[in-house]
Amino acid sequence: MSAQAHDEHEEHIHHWGIYVGIGVFLAIVTGIELGPLFDWYNIPVIVLLAMSAVKFFIVVAFFMHLWDDAPIFTRMFAPPMVGATLMVAALMLLFDGYNPTNQEDSFAVQERYWTNYSSECTSWLRSSRTNRWYCASPAIDMARMVRIGGGGPEWGNISINVDAASDPEKLAGLTEFGGKVYSARCAQCHQADGLGGGAYPALAGAGEFYGTPVNHARIVVHGLNNVPINVLGVDYAGVMPAQNDLTDVELAAVLTYVRHSWGNEDGMVLPADVAQARTDGPWTP
């Protein structure tokens, strides 16, 4: 340490009482700031920010000794502090969509995401503080989320109320709606006639392969990743993409359609089975 620097600091040792006094003052200000937390009283935002700024400058000036230390330290610290504050303000301005068209655009775009998003939440949590429900299952299929135009529910929704309908109505409603979902999402690989081909197994007559409704739903919901299977005597080990972005009703309908087309007569799959399949996890032979 340089000699002359030392003398400069020699007589600057404050009495410990000053520091304790400052510490108490800071504690009091913090205590006042906590008021709104416990709903005792409200503090306008400006005042709250001002109180924090006062605490900030007191700690910098007295605890970090900028008040009575060499001026170079203040010149070194003040501009970056101002710069960082301006940067935060600039980012907030640029992101709050100061430009009005941005504001209502971002709501429009996010509204599209929201509708895709909300339908997929499988488990919900209620906050003990605000009694508000929020989605606690973060697993959202990104691909479906991102497709703005495509993949939307262009197949509309089911014509019957699945729970209330009687069995024959339920079967008819599910197969009719399932057909539309099948042609949009499954025909691409398993073909419209259910005969598949190439790397894609046939569905017509494969009743004993996909077995119980829950099993069938597990295969489709979680998909298969190079799992060796044998359908109607033919071995496959390809990839069945997971269809977890479809809702329970859509999956129940398409599976029922499959189980009642091309000569199959293998009973119905209900949304409850699909929900059960989601929690049971991927199917293994």
Binding site: S106, V109, A143, V146, I148, S183, Y200
Partner: protein, 355 residues
């Protein structure tokens, strides 16, 4: 468009190398210095003004430097030149001159910024532009028409573009009709212009556009066209797109539709005359036969090209085949089933017949 703006634009445009640009549109389809819309008129105004100022300043500084280099060469005489440390008056001088020049450039710039940014008139044709991984989807919102890689607009009427992306950041740029706007996923950027060129009856004018923001392997092959019609031509195009085309030759139709279903094209592509083909993952193929180019500007629209494109996409546009990354989320093009030769030809002839 305020009257003043048109006047200002024409004054500056005339500055632009006396009207005949060095890069005419005939052999420079992407030239930025020949304006065909009010938007690019405004830009060209500021563009030529600033170009003139910078060129003049550049030439003057160059002359000054050459003079100094020649005049003050070391002539071998002993001793040192006069040790001049500085001259505050000159410093002030060459600070104020740039300030004046900057003001001269800033004022028209800020005026043009606010003109370009004002909202489109209500009667504008609204087109949603969605940038995808390596092609463009255009949706005429009121008309309910969805097409790809080609925008048909009437000259003289304002067109309002709502530009967004559902993959990475692209940039929608038609140099002759005005500046570019980025297609940022999660946000809608607006741009509107009115084509000022006259279009003869029954004729069309082609303006070429491209993606300007790096978006992956086939960023270079993501071009599109804007085709200007006169009002009648535009109305006729609208009907054409709304009514499903009738393929006269039954054999071609059956083989084509059978191959379309067999190849799984129905899973991604929409086609008005096949019911159930409504998916919007791939481009909409309605009246594909009428399009000038296919695979977003990569090749001319001929049956052979269409066949070879269906056969092997990777060779034409690197990065477009799914299995390249094995990632289903990839917006590439995949034919899930091995198509036989005849099926490919049937598809190609069928799609080319959709005129």
């Amino acid at each position: 468009m305020s009257r003043f703006r048109a006047l200002f634009a024409s004054v500056c445009a005339s500055l632009w190398l006396s009207g005949c640009s060095l890069w005419p549109a005939e052999d420079n389809p992407f030239t930025t210095v020949e304006s065909s819309s009010d938007f690019s008129d405004a830009i060209l105004g500021v563009y030529s003004l600033i170009t003139w100022i910078t060129c003049v300043v550049g030439v003057l500084v160059a002359i000054l430097m050459v003079y100094v280099l020649i005049k003050f060469r070391d002539d071998g005489s002993p001793g040192n030149p006069e040790q001049v440390h500085g001259n505050t008056a000159m410093e002030l001088g060459w600070t104020l001159i740039p300030v004046v020049l900057v003001i001269f450039m800033v004022v028209p710039t800020i005026r043009t910024i606010f003109e370009i940014a004002d909202a489109a008139p209500d009667d504008a044709i609204e087109i949603r532009v969605v940038g995808k991984r390596w092609w463009w989807e255009f949706e005429y919102i009121e008309e309910g028409i969805i097409t790809a890689n080609e925008i048909h607009v009437p000259a003289g009427r304002p067109v309002n573009l709502l530009i967004e992306s559902d993959s990475v950041i692209h940039s929608f740029w038609v140099p002759r009709l005005g500046g570019k706007r980025d297609a940022v996923p999660g946000r809608i950027n607006r741009m509107w212009w009115t084509i000022t060129d006259e279009v003869a009856a029954g004729e069309t004018i082609l303006y070429r556009g491209e993606c300007a923001e790096y978006c992956g392997e086939s960023h270079a092959l993501m071009k599109f066209d804007v085709i200007a019609h006169d009002d009648a031509g535009y109305a006729e195009w609208l009907e054409l797109m709304k009514a499903p085309p009738v393929v006269a030759d039954a054999a071609v139709r059956e083989a084509g539709e059978e191959a379309f279903a067999a190849g799984g094209c129905i899973g991604c592509h929409a086609l008005t005359n096949i019911d159930g083909a409504v998916a919007r993952i791939g481009p909409n193929l309605t009246r594909l036969g009428n399009r000038r180019m296919i695979a977003s500007g990569t090749m001319e629209n001929t049956t052979e090209h269409l066949a070879s494109w269906i056969e092997n996409q990777e060779e034409w546009k690197p990065g477009t085949s799914y299995n390249k990354l094995g990632d289903p989320r990839f917006d590439g093009m995949l034919i899930p089933v091995e198509l036989s030769e005849q099926q490919v030809d049937a598809l190609a002839t069928y799609l080319s017949a959709l005129q």
